[in-house]
């Protein structure tokens, strides 16, 4: 009797969720941002995304089938999500072979060498992104200019808003630069950057869909964005000639993509609500530190990866409450 009763905290109601359903919802949520990118950067976006997703699925299949010798689980859609997020994190004019390397790193190094879905410590797409950033520094930081025309966006390159800020002598100088987009353009996505991160509105529509479906909770993104806003605000109040205003920091770089789609990855984020808040705050703080004082203009990927490594500790410190206790 004792054995039978002693399982885990009730209630035991199946939510009807499955890995498959969650992953395909995430894919659906990424579609608006994808369409905006195709609009601004043209055909290369489509090609890169297809190659990235295709390679991720292919490598997952090959590794599971021939190296791990287990039944391939490519139908669960997790490789598709990784592939899409990976593609979203690169400039639209990236050479194709580089994203193939990225897919090998994401699936082979970041996911499968830890044992596959559910066992990876770090978000695979982010590992691959950081790997590529260090491996191909020139290609990964040469951004095509967003122009709403159909065709190959390979001719003109321009800097990202954060890059302008890092390399400019003064904030006023950087803001006055001809390449600096207006806030409206930052919202809709007409600015330089990795192609999935440019449009704040499209990303927020996808994020709202995921929250409505209860696939992601508000804790991590809100804590993440709020921390960035508050700390950017503090520095801005101290010295507005040196530090950009907090709205600028919210809308530029990969912050919105990172906060809603990558930091919330179920495998690599804490399980309890309080843990998620700590995780989000940590990400925000590290992002601002790297953006303001680091060598790189953008710090979202690094900060999420660093916080990923702290997840086991956070889980230990903030255990989920047992039901009705």
């Amino acid at each position: 009797m004792d054995k039978l009763l002693n399982v885990s905290g009730s209630p035991h109601v199946h939510s009807g969720e499955s890995v498959k359903k969650i992953m395909w919802s995430v894919v659906l949520a990424l579609v608006p941002a994808f369409l905006v990118s195709v609009f601004y950067f043209g055909l290369p976006v489509l090609i890169l995304t297809v190659v990235s997703v295709g390679c991720c699925v292919l490598f997952e299949y090959l590794i599971q089938r021939f190296l791990m010798k287990v039944e391939p689980s490519i139908n669960d859609g997790s490789a598709v999500v990784t592939g899409m997020l990976l593609a979203f994190n690169v400039p639209a004019n990236l050479p194709i072979w580089m994203i193939v390397v990225g897919a090998i790193v994401a699936i082979g190094i970041a996911k499968m060498s830890f044992g596959g879905l559910g066992r990876n410590i770090f978000n695979p797409a982010l590992v691959a992104r950081v790997f590529m950033l260090i491996a191909f520094p020139v290609a990964m930081t040469t951004w095509p200019v967003a122009t709403p025309v159909w065709g190959f966006a390979d001719a003109v390159t321009g800097p990202t808003p954060l890059g302008l800020l890092k390399e400019g002598a003064t904030v006023a100088g950087a803001m006055g630069d001809a390449h600096m987009p207006s806030y409206v353009n930052m919202l809709v996505g007409q600015m330089g950057g990795s192609f999935g991160e440019v449009s704040a509105i499209a990303l927020l529509i996808g994020a709202a869909f995921l929250m409505w479906k209860r696939i992601i909770s508000w804790h991590i993104p809100v804590a993440f964005l709020l921390t960035v806003f508050v700390f950017a605000g503090i520095f801005w109040l101290i010295d507005p000639t040196h530090y950009a205003n907090p709205f600028f920091h919210l809308l530029t770089g990969g912050l919105i993509l990172g906060a809603f789609f990558m930091a919330t990855d179920m495998v690599t984020s804490p399980v309890s609500n309080r843990g998620m808040l700590v995780f989000g705050c940590g990400c925000g703080l590290l992002t601002i530190i790297i953006r303001l004082f680091g060598a790189y203009p953008e710090g979202v990927s690094f900060s999420i990866l660093i916080m990923n490594s702290l997840v086991p500790l956070i889980n230990k410190g903030f255990k989920p409450k047992t039901y009705a206790k």
Partner: protein, 197 residues
């Protein structure tokens, strides 16, 4: 250990001392054997750099150290004078602390009129594939300084309103290079004034 015996304090001291003594003697031997070669190698390295930045010079070179105004570290100036006593130019060992990796060292050769003859990287550890393009073997970036006169050629990257084409995706290293060359130029102008008086 093969033998388990308690050794006396005296034995400990004697053994350790004699091992150290023999080691010291052996090292002295090797040092004496290699000293000349090491000195020659270092001298050859410096002469190579000097020849690169002052290629056609024949005459005497005198070394002085000049501390730029408001700075702590002095720059070594190899002042080149032709045999008839006129100033040929100078090779200046300069540095920058604005590099991506903190610091790198350059040697810059100036002609008597102040124009740059050549620049050469002495010691740098900038990121491979990015900042290391300051080396002439990796890109043509450093070659654009040759023959330019900093009096009319503004030593800063185009993004900052200067005349220098920065290395793609390595603006920080490019700026640092300009910084180092500018420092050398300031010192050279300083030296020139002194020698003319």
């Amino acid at each position: 250990m093969s033998q388990k015996k308690e050794a006396s304090l005296l034995r400990l001291v004697v053994v350790l001392t004699s091992i150290a003594l023999v080691a010291g003697l052996a090292l002295t031997g090797v040092y004496a054997l290699t000293k000349e070669r090491i000195d020659n190698a270092q001298k050859a390295k410096k002469e190579l750099a000097l020849n690169l930045v002052l290629p056609d010079f024949k005459g005497t070179i005198t070394d002085t150290t000049i501390v730029p105004e408001g700075e702590k570290e002095g720059l070594l100036v190899h002042l080149a004078k032709s045999d008839d006593g006129t100033l040929y130019g100078a090779a200046i060992e300069t540095y920058t602390k604005k590099a991506f990796d903190g610091r790198f060292d350059l040697m810059v050769g100036f002609a008597a009129d102040g124009s740059i003859i050549n620049t050469e990287v002495i010691d740098a550890s900038e990121t491979p594939g990015l900042g290391d393009k300051i080396n002439k073997t990796k890109s043509d970036f450093a070659k654009q300084f040759n023959g330019q006169d900093p009096a009319t050629y503004k030593l800063s990257v185009k993004k900052d309103g200067g005349d220098v084409d920065a290395i793609t995706a390595a603006t920080i290293s490019s700026r640092a290079y300009c910084d180092a060359v500018q420092r050398a130029y300031n010192v050279f102008m300083n030296v020139k004034e002194v020698t003319h008086e």
